[in-house]
């Protein structure tokens, strides 16, 4: 998998397959559509998972599992269904990881074992690469506002946070959000309304 790190940006998985005669035209079309879809959701999905799990690597694992599950089980479904399905899978994965973490926490509380990442690792050169950052002043202000929003979002109940992020951040409509959350549209509206009120109350000074 490390080879992908060095690929040029123009490289595309589907482009690499285009010369392979054994793949049917339908599979190629599906993979092309899936690649576009996954590229469009992966970063937001990561942020949503990170807000729920509060851990980068766990969030990355959750997103990867959701991608694999979508491709394995639902790639034949119409493309319009992928987004709510993907977020439904992601949410299930996040809940699984939270449950597992709770159990692991109870066990680890009795053992003097530390996680490898807490013991310090060599810095990742890609992580150290500069991003297109704004000016330091703007950055500080944005970081403070985002930090406060992140704390407020993390403090929300799971369903409220999910409704808020799917509706406001991911841009799903009420019906798609209901499909992703596995609940009624009325529940989505209630969760969303409560989430907005709670966040407004907590972020009064950042508005």
């Amino acid at each position: 998998m490390g080879a992908f790190v060095t690929l040029p940006q123009a490289y595309s998985m589907t482009a690499a397959w285009s010369g392979e005669p054994h793949l049917s035209e339908r599979t190629r079309e599906t993979s092309r559509a899936l690649e576009l879809f996954l590229a469009s959701v992966e970063r937001k999905a990561f942020r949503i998972a990170q807000l729920a799990l509060r851990h980068e690597d766990d969030a990355l694992d959750a997103v990867q599992d959701a991608m694999l599950q979508l491709v394995r089980a639902y790639s034949a479904r119409p493309a319009e269904e992928w987004r709510p399905l993907f977020y439904r899978i992601l949410d299930n994965r996040v809940l699984d990881m939270q449950r597992r973490r709770t159990v692991r926490g109870r066990i680890m509380a009795w053992l003097p074992v530390r996680r490898a990442d807490e013991e310090g690792e060599d810095p990742d050169p890609i992580a150290e690469a500069p991003s297109h950052a704004p000016s330091p002043g703007d950055r500080v202000e944005a970081d403070e506002a985002m930090g406060a929003l992140q704390v407020a979002l993390e403090a929300l109940p799971h369903r409220q946070r999910q409704a808020f992020l799917l509706r406001n951040f991911e841009g799903l409509d009420v019906a798609q959000t209901a499909a992703a959350m596995g609940c009624s549209e009325g529940s989505v509206k209630t969760h969303y309304f409560r989430a907005v009120n709670a966040l407004r109350g907590r972020l009064e000074e950042h508005r």
Partner: protein, 130 residues
């Protein structure tokens, strides 16, 4: 109230989108790898098949092991009984007192008595048949 609310929603959306744009290279790289790994499933779906059976195989192996251990323990518990019986037989054969007891039985000095008893028993069985 509605405008304030919409402003708030717009503001939080911008913050969240900015946080996505600022994701570092390591995370972007790992997301790209995850996407390619998922897409590779379309190309080689059969690759997953061997480990999909792994849990069932593990359960079957554990079941076989449990049966083997159970059968082994059954064998171990029954073997001493068989051995004990064999030793008892040997003791009987070796023990002279047993033959003394036979010698001391009534009529033991006379084989005619046993012959008579055997004939009488055969006759009794034959008469019951008729």
């Amino acid at each position: 109230m509605t405008n304030e609310r919409q402003d708030f929603e717009g503001h939080t959306r911008k913050l969240l989108e900015a946080s996505v744009d600022d994701l570092d290279g390591r995370i972007r790289s790992r997301l790209t790898q995850a996407r390619y790994r998922a897409l590779a499933e379309l190309q080689h779906p059969q690759r997953a098949s061997w480990w999909q059976w792994a849990p069932a195989s593990a359960v079957a192996a554990v079941a076989v092991l449990a049966i083997a251990l159970w059968a082994g323990s059954e064998y171990r518990t029954s073997a001493p009984v068989a051995r004990a019986t064999t030793f008892e037989d040997l003791e009987l054969l070796v023990d002279n007192d047993v033959f003394d007891f036979v010698d001391e039985a009534p009529g033991a000095d006379s084989y005619e008595f046993f012959e008579w008893a055997a004939v009488a028993a055969d006759d009794g069985v034959a008469s019951m048949g008729t």
